[in-house]
């Protein structure tokens, strides 16, 4: 190779030579990961919307408490769909070392399939999760959860299920099942409680039985919706700012490049985010850091724009927040974090506030707070919002040179936020920054 080569022609050919098709399994693996990905809080609008949807889902689940005390196992009117003995009196527990009687409380968890299960939607096997709460066994599916109410019969540890999902959702998800269809399974739980084994006795819903039969591993974090990131060891840690956002000139000398902090047990660094999470907290709402924010437009048509006339100084933005329609804000108070002066205030959405935007999935109690300081014409996201009952503590630090840092301690409701603030502020106060 010499300088005389036409480098452009060389590169054109060289780049054309590599494979251009993704492996056959890749799409399935990705969809499976999406299925298993918890709906965590990231930054800004979308996590709060996700959190709301999750809350709604569980509120709906709680609202339909259908105890099935009298669910019979003999389903003589139904054809056994899984090809197993329909006898209601199992004679063996399937797990290698199961308990003879399973404490129902021990079943309440998220469970991940050991190996793969046949997916009725895609008709191919991949890893599947389900969650058992107090009333519902919810199989995480690509089109949304497929729910069954459950009860556990003593003394045989026989799990009874009744399909609770609507026919609409079952049809759209290609499940060959009907609402109210019953199934029963022998339950085995390993002595350490980590492995659940389900053996179908009978189930009119073939897809459900196909998925549930076999071994399941307990989700390692108590909160099934958490990111379940690897916990940080207690002590001091160093992180780099994820400055992949092209809006943020990462190479600028005026910008921070990293931060360090001290955490007690139970905290985690969220993957690819400038955020810390507590795995056991609902929604993993915790501490996020955002470089260079600006006041978001309050125009009623929800434009992707900065609020005109408001400087991006810390003082101006903090005062502006106290005047934002629909936002309840405390008086800004001075604070110094890691040697940088700033202002701190607590914010929430006024109970009577109503604002609906086309892209907020029907959410009404929403307030846009921050967007990017550096204007980018096609920036697709707002940087931060408050939604519904969410509460946040905003700490705006002046980095000098016209730059700022937003530290947010946020949670989906006031009670969990108050707990979080108590736990998070020592961490926030331990932040040190590097340029």
């Amino acid at each position: 190779m010499t300088r005389d080569h036409d480098i452009e022609r060389v590169l054109n050919q060289w780049f054309a030579e590599s494979p251009t098709q993704m492996p056959g399994r890749f799409l399935d693996d990705t969809l499976d990961r999406i299925d298993r990905a918890p709906q965590r809080r990231l930054a800004g609008l979308r996590p709060r919307l996700l959190a709301m949807n999750t809350n709604q889902r569980f509120a709906a689940a709680a609202a339909v408490v259908l105890l099935i005390a009298g669910v019979g196992f003999a389903v003589v009117s139904r054809t056994p769909a899984v090809g197993v003995n329909p006898s209601p009196t199992p004679t063996a527990v399937p797990s290698a070392s199961p308990r003879a009687i399973v404490d129902p409380a021990l079943l309440r968890s998220k469970w991940t399939s050991v190996g793969v299960r046949m997916d009725p939607i895609f008709l191919n096997p991949h890893q599947i999760d389900f969650v058992i709460d107090s009333t519902t066994l919810s199989i995480d599916q690509f089109k949304g959860p497929v729910d069954s109410t459950w009860s556990l019969a003593e003394p045989y540890s026989l799990l009874s299920l009744r399909m609770r999902s609507t026919q609409t959702s079952l049809t759209s998800g290609h499940w060959d099942c009907q609402p109210d269809q019953d199934g029963s399974y022998i339950v085995g739980l390993s002595s350490d409680g980590r492995t659940l084994t389900l053996t179908p006795v009978t189930d009119a819903c073939r897809s459900r039985a196909t998925i549930l039969a076999g071994d399941w591993t307990r989700w390692p974090c108590p909160n099934p919706l958490s990111t379940c990131q690897t916990e940080l060891s207690p002590g001091r840690h160093v992180s780099s700012f994820m400055n992949m956002d092209p809006n943020v000139p990462a190479t600028s000398s005026t910008f921070l490049t990293g931060y360090s902090y001290s955490v007690p047990v139970g905290w985690s660094q969220l993957e690819s985010q400038n955020a810390l999470g507590r795995p056991n907290d609902p929604g993993t709402m915790a501490v996020t850091l955002t470089l260079d924010v600006a006041p978001h437009s309050q125009a009623p048509d929800c434009p992707d724009a900065k609020e005109p006339g408001v400087p991006t100084t810390v003082a101006a933005m903090a005062q502006w927040l106290t005047r934002v329609p629909g936002l309840v804000a405390t008086t800004p108070t001075p604070i110094n974090i890691g040697g940088y002066d700033g202002l701190m205030l607590d914010v929430s959405v006024a109970p009577t506030w109503r604002l609906t935007c086309q892209f907020t999935s029907g959410a009404e109690r929403i307030v846009f707070t921050f967007t990017d300081r550096v204007p980018v014409a096609d920036s697709p996201f707002v940087r931060d919002t408050l939604l519904g009952d969410a509460h946040s503590r905003y700490i705006l630090l002046d980095l000098g040179g016209g730059h700022n840092l937003l530290i947010e301690v946020g949670a989906p409701d006031k009670a969990s936020w108050e707990d979080l603030v108590q736990a998070a502020m020592p961490i926030v106060n331990s932040f040190q920054f590097t340029r």
């Binding site: 098709q21 492996p23 990961r33 999406i34 299925d35 690509f142 809006n247 892209f359």
Partner: protein, 182 residues
């Protein structure tokens, strides 16, 4: 139709999202592979971007911006992955050349080896820029949009990347010339 899919996916219809990424999968996979130059890590980067896109879709204001936005996510994920390469001992899998060589194949095995080594020495941002320009055939304005940098910056960086690639290849040529068989 694509806009409908994007809007449906934005409203958490995962089936619609599956359709969206199924349509774009090969193209994005090829892009990722060429930037990170490693099969496994290209898959990691692309999957990371696709999962991130699914999580962030509800905040996407304009469905017509979906492709540009997704492209940007993939490039960013590749940049992160490529930067990780420098911080860890990597079990490098050189891309298999499993396609039929073009008719006007003027690259020797040695050329390809030099290209591979030279390309791996480039900063990840310059790798991405070269791939977007030479593989995807994007003009400077499109690259500027994807990378989020001004058009003038794209032009100067592309020039620098070409020069760096030439220099890397020439350096390899000198090494081969000096260390090669007498």
């Amino acid at each position: 139709m694509d806009r409908d899919l994007v809007e449906a996916a934005r409203n958490r219809d995962r089936g619609a999202y599956a359709d969206l990424i199924r349509i774009r999968g090969d193209r994005l996979y090829a892009l990722a592979q060429r930037i990170v130059r490693d099969v496994d890590r290209a898959e990691d980067a692309l999957q990371e971007a696709l999962v991130t896109a699914w999580r962030d879709l509800p905040g996407l204001r304009d469905p017509d911006r979906f492709d540009a936005w997704l492209h940007r996510l993939v490039v960013r994920a590749c940049l992160v992955e490529a930067k990780r390469e420098r911080r860890r001992i990597s079990n490098v899998h050189v891309l298999p050349i499993d396609v039929v060589a073009p008719v006007d194949d003027f690259l020797s095995v040695a050329d390809r080896d030099q290209l591979e080594r030279g390309f791996r020495r480039l900063p990840p941002e310059q790798r991405a820029l070269l791939v977007l320009h030479h593989f995807e055939g994007r003009d400077l304005a499109e690259i500027a949009e994807i990378l989020g940098i001004p058009g003038g910056t794209v032009r100067s960086r592309l020039h620098h990347a070409h020069r760096a690639m030439r220099a890397a290849l020439d350096a390899d040529s000198r090494v081969i010339a000096i260390g090669g068989p007498a």
